[in-house]
Amino acid sequence: MKRFGVGGIWVGILCASLLAAGGVRGQQEYPVSARTLKNGMRVLVQTDHSIPNVALYIFFRIGSRNEHPGTTGLSHFFEHMMFNGAKKYGPGDLDKVMEANGGANNAYTTRDVTVYQDWFPRSALPLIYDIESDRIRDLNFDPQKVKSEREVVASERRLSVDNENGGVLDEQLWATSFIAHPYQWPVLGWMSDIEHWTMEDLKHHFEMGYSPNNATMVVVGDVSAEEIFKLCETYIEPIPTHPPPPAVTTVEPPQMGERRLIVHKQAELPLLMMGYHVPQSNSSDFYALNILRTILFQGESSRMYQRLVDKDQIALEVTSGLEPSFDPTMVEVVAQPKQGVDPQGCEKAIYEEFERAGSAVVRDTELEKAKNIRLVEFYRQMRTINGRANTIGTYEVFFGDYNKLFETAKNYSAVTKEDVRRVAKMYFGANNRTVATLLPENAEKAKP
C-alpha cells in the first residue's frame, strides 16, 4: 500500500522479482558501490549521468509480518506517519520543502518491507539527506496528525478494498490460505485495528523497525559514490542503532487439502482467485517458478490465455502474481470470468493446464520464449534510474546480495524443461490450493 496514488512512477515489485538475462547489458555499464556504515546501514550507489536526477530508496526490513493481532496495519500506518513531522521538519514541512526544491516522494509497504522513495534533481541532494536523517532519528508523533492520518488510511482502505472487488477477494484469500503465519492479515490492517492502535504501539514500532542496521539505502543517478558516502557519514552514520525486530519464527504448516471461500457482493461480474503455497524468494525454485508462470500466463501466446480467453472463451483475463518475500508465500492466480460463465468452468480449465504442465515437459520454443521475455523485462526495468534503485534494493534485501542481480541471466538460462515440469507438479496440485470466488448479488438485494 503506498502513501499516495498519483503518477504510477513505481516500478512493480512484481516485475522486480522477475529478472532474466543472458549476455545482459545495462548493469555492468553502471557498477554498484557498496558500503556498510558504522551504525549498520547498508548503502548501495550506482552512478548514471544520463539525466540530472537521483532516485533514492530506503528499504526497512519491517512489514505486516512483524505485526500481531490487534495491531495489524501498523507498519503501513507508520509509513504514513513518517511524512508527518520530525524534530527539524515539522508536520507538513517535509513535503513542502522537498517539492519546493524540485523533489517528490512516495512510499510503499508490503508484508515484508517498508520502502521510502525520493526522486529529485541532484541540486537537492544535501537537503534530502537532512530530511531523511531527521525522520529516521527523531520522528515525532503529533496526536492531531495521528488522528487525521487514521482517517486517510481508512479512506485508502475503502478505496482499495471495500469498494474494489479484487481488493476484497484478495484479502480473504490470504486470510484463508495462511492459518498460522502472519502473512494471513492484510498489509492495510483490519479496520477495527486501524481504529484502535495506541500511541505506545506506534512508538514501539518505530524503535523496533527503524534502526539503521535494519535498513538498506540505494541511490541511483547523477551522483558519485564518494559524495553519497560522505553525505552518509555526515547525516546517517551518527544515528544510533537499536535492537531489530524479533525474528518471525512461525512457520506455516503444510496445507493438507483444498480450501474454498465465497464472497457475496454486489457486482457486475464474478471473480476468481486462487493461491498456491510456494517457497520464499531466495529458494532455488524461484527461477523455475517464474519460467513456469511465464509459459502459462504471460502474453497472448501463453497456455492459459490460449485456453481460457482465446479457445474456450470463458475468461476475459487470466494472470498470475508472485511477490518477493522473506518467508514461504503464494503464487496468486486471478481469472475474470466472462458474463454468464460459471467460475468453476474457469477453475476446471486452469487445473487442467497446471496438470498438463506437471505431467509432460514444455516445448523447446516455449522455454526459449519464456527466457527471452524475462530478458526484455529485465532491460525494461533497468532502463530508468527509478527502476534500477528498486531492483538493486530488492535483490539486496530479498536475495541477500545485490550481486545476485548479475546472476539472474545465468539462473534463468539454467532452468530446464524438467525443472518446469517438476515445479508445476510439486506446487500446483489440489491439496496446496485455496480458491476464492466472488459471486455477484443483484442491486435490488443489496439495498437496505
Binding site: 498519483v6 502474453g299 466472462k338 532491460y379
Partner: protein, 475 residues
C-alpha cells in the same frame, strides 16, 4: 501488492496525454537530436537515436481516435486498434502472438480521443522481426469475423468488469455528462450497447478510411543507426499505398453554463467518488505553461491546495487532485477525489472553497517559485526512456508543437508572474459554471447533494452505458 499501481489509474492515463514540461535547474535539459523525413507515400517518420539499453521503440499515431467514432458505434476506433493483431494476410492471431512473445516483444494499440496509438518494442537484435510484425499489423490486417466477434464480446464484458471499480469508469461518466453529444463525450472503449452495433464491415471501413500513410506519424526511438533504419523503414513501409484521407474535424467545445449534477447510484458504495469541473484548454493553448504552474499549485502535487485541504488537514480522503487533459480542442478540466458517505458534502464544500480561494486570492510569489522548481525537478524522468521519447516527439508533431515544448520550457516557466497566474485563473479555471459527477450510494447522499445544482440527473451504475443513456437502452 498488485493493487498499488491501480490507484487513480484513470488519472495516470490522462497524465500521459498532458505532456509534462521541462528542464532541470542545474543543467538545462534538451530533447536529444532527432530527424524528420517524409516518405514518398506521405508517411511522416521521426527518428531519435538513444544509446544505453538495446531496445527499439516504434510508435505510430494514426490521426483518428474515439472522437471519430460514429454516434451509436462508440468504441469503433478502439475495436479497430484492438483487432489489428488478430489476423493479417500472413498471420493468424495465434501466430502473431507466438511470434511477438518469442522475441519478448511488447505490442499495444489503443484509441484515445484524438488519435490511435500503435506501439511496439523489441530488442535491437530482433529489428528485422520486430519491424515485420509491426508493418504486418499496420498494413495488412484482415479483421477475421470470428476474431471480431470474440473481441467485441470481451470488450462488452470488460465494460461490466470496469464498473466494479468505480474509479476506472469515472471519466467515462464525466466526459459524457460534460460534453453530451460532442465527440469528446464518447466513451473511448464504447459501452455495453454501442459495442453491439459494431460489425466487421464497420471496422474494415474505419481502417480503410483512416489508416493511411499520409494520416500517420511514425516515431522510432532507441538503439539503432538512423541511416540503416531509414533504409529499412522505406523498404518495409514504403510499400504502404497512399490514399486520400479526409481529416477528422472536431468541433470546438465551449464551457458548460450554470451548474449540473449527475449522481450515478452504486447502492453498496461506502464512499463517494466525485469529479467537478468544466471544459479546459487545447494542447496548443498559448497559456499552457502558466496553466501548468497554477494547476500544480492548485491540484497537481502532494502539497497542492486541494490535497492539503482534503487530505492533509481534514483527513477526508486518501487523495485529491486536478488536471487539464489537453487535446486538439479543449479537453476536460477535472477535480477528482473520494470520501466516505458521511463526509460527502463536507468534502465537496471544502473543494469548492479551495476553488473559490484560488479565484479570490490567486497564488503567491512563493508558491510560484516552488511550483516552477517542482516542475523543473520532476521533468527529466519523463523523457528518460526511448519509449517516452518516441511518444513525446510524435505527440508534439500531431499537435503542431515543436521541440521548444521541452527546450524552452524552463524560460517559459520563469516568465510566469503572479499577474499572468491571475489572468490564467480567471480565464481557464471554472468558478460558477460547474459540472459535477458523483458515483455513490444515492439513498445515503442523494438529498444532501441537491444543494449543488438545480439541474440534476441520476442513473444506476448497473444500467448499460454511461451518459447520455444509449439510444437503444432507453425505456
Amino acid at each position: 501488492m498488485r493493487r498499488r499501481w491501480r490507484i487513480w489509474r484513470f488519472l495516470v492515463v490522462a497524465a500521459i496525454v498532458v505532456l509534462a514540461p521541462t528542464v532541470a535547474p542545474a543543467q538545462t535539459l534538451h530533447l536529444p537530436p532527432h530527424e524528420k523525413v517524409v516518405l514518398k507515400n506521405g508517411l511522416t517518420v521521426l527518428l531519435l537515436e538513444k544509446r544505453g539499453v538495446p531496445l527499439v521503440n516504434i510508435s505510430a499515431i494514426v490521426k483518428a481516435g474515439a472522437a471519430a467514432d460514429p454516434s451509436g458505434q462508440e468504441g469503433l476506433a478502439t475495436t479497430t486498434a484492438g483487432l489489428l493483431r488478430k489476423g493479417t494476410k500472413k498471420r493468424s492471431a495465434q501466430q502473431f502472438a507466438a511470434d511477438l512473445d518469442y522475441i519478448g516483444g511488447e505490442f499495444e494499440a489503443e484509441a484515445g480521443p484524438d488519435f490511435t496509438t500503435i506501439n511496439v518494442e523489441f530488442q535491437t537484435k530482433d529489428l528485422a522481426r520486430g519491424l515485420d510484425l509491426f508493418a504486418d499489423v499496420l498494413l495488412h490486417p484482415t479483421f477475421p469475423q470470428a476474431e471480431t466477434e470474440k473481441f467485441l464480446a470481451q470488450e462488452m464484458d470488460g465494460v461490466k468488469a470496469a464498473k466494479d471499480d468505480p474509479q476506472s469508469v469515472m471519466m467515462s461518466y464525466y466526459s459524457g455528462y460534460l460534453y453530451g453529444t460532442h465527440p469528446y463525450g464518447h466513451p473511448a472503449g464504447g459501452d455495453e450497447v454501442s459495442l453491439k452495433q459494431i460489425r466487421r464491415e464497420d471496422v474494415a471501413k474505419f481502417y480503410e478510411t483512416n489508416y493511411a500513410p499520409g494520416n500517420t506519424i511514425l516515431s522510432v526511438a532507441g538503439e539503432f543507426n538512423s541511416t540503416e533504419m531509414k533504409a529499412k523503414l522505406a523498404e518495409v513501409l514504403g510499400a504502404w499505398e497512399s490514399r486520400a484521407v479526409k481529416s477528422i474535424a472536431i468541433p470546438g467545445a465551449s464551457p458548460s453554463k450554470g451548474k449540473r449534477l449527475l449522481l450515478v447510484d452504486k447502492p453498496d458504495a461506502s464512499q463517494t467518488y466525485f469529479t467537478i469541473g468544466n471544459t479546459g484548454v487545447a494542447a496548443n493553448d498559448p497559456d499552457r505553461v502558466a496553466i501548468r504552474v497554477v494547476n500544480t499549485i492548485f491540484g497537481g502535487r502532494f502539497t497542492s491546495e486541494l490535497n492539503e485541504a482534503l487530505r492533509v488537514e481534514s483527513g477526508y480522503t486518501y487523495g485529491a487532485q486536478s488536471f487539464f487533459d489537453q487535446r486538439k480542442v479543449p479537453g476536460p478540466f477535472v477535480i477528482f477525489s473520494f470520501t466516505k458517505n458521511e463526509t460527502t458534502t463536507p468534502a465537496i464544500d471544502l473543494t469548492l472553497q479551495v476553488l473559490a480561494k484560488l479565484h479570490k486570492e490567486g497564488v503567491t510569489q512563493e508558491q510560484l517559485k516552488s511550483a516552477k522548481s517542482y516542475i523543473k525537478g520532476q521533468f527529466p524522468p519523463n523523457i528518460e526512456t526511448s519509449r517516452q521519447l518516441a511518444r513525446t516527439i510524435a505527440t508534439h508533431e500531431f499537435y503542431g508543437l515543436g521541440d521548444d515544448e521541452v527546450n524552452e520550457l524552463e524560460a517559459r516557466l520563469d516568465a510566469v508572474t503572479p499577474e499572468t497566474a491571475r489572468q490564467v485563473i480567471q480565464k481557464h479555471f471554472p468558478a460558477e459554471n460547474l459540472v459535477f459527477v458523483l458515483i455513490g450510494k444515492a439513498s445515503a447522499i442523494g438529498p444532501a447533494v441537491q444543494k449543488y445544482a438545480i439541474n440534476q440527473d441520476t442513473r444506476m451504475l448497473s444500467e448499460p452505458g454511461f451518459w447520455p443513456a444509449p439510444a437503444t437502452a432507453k425505456k
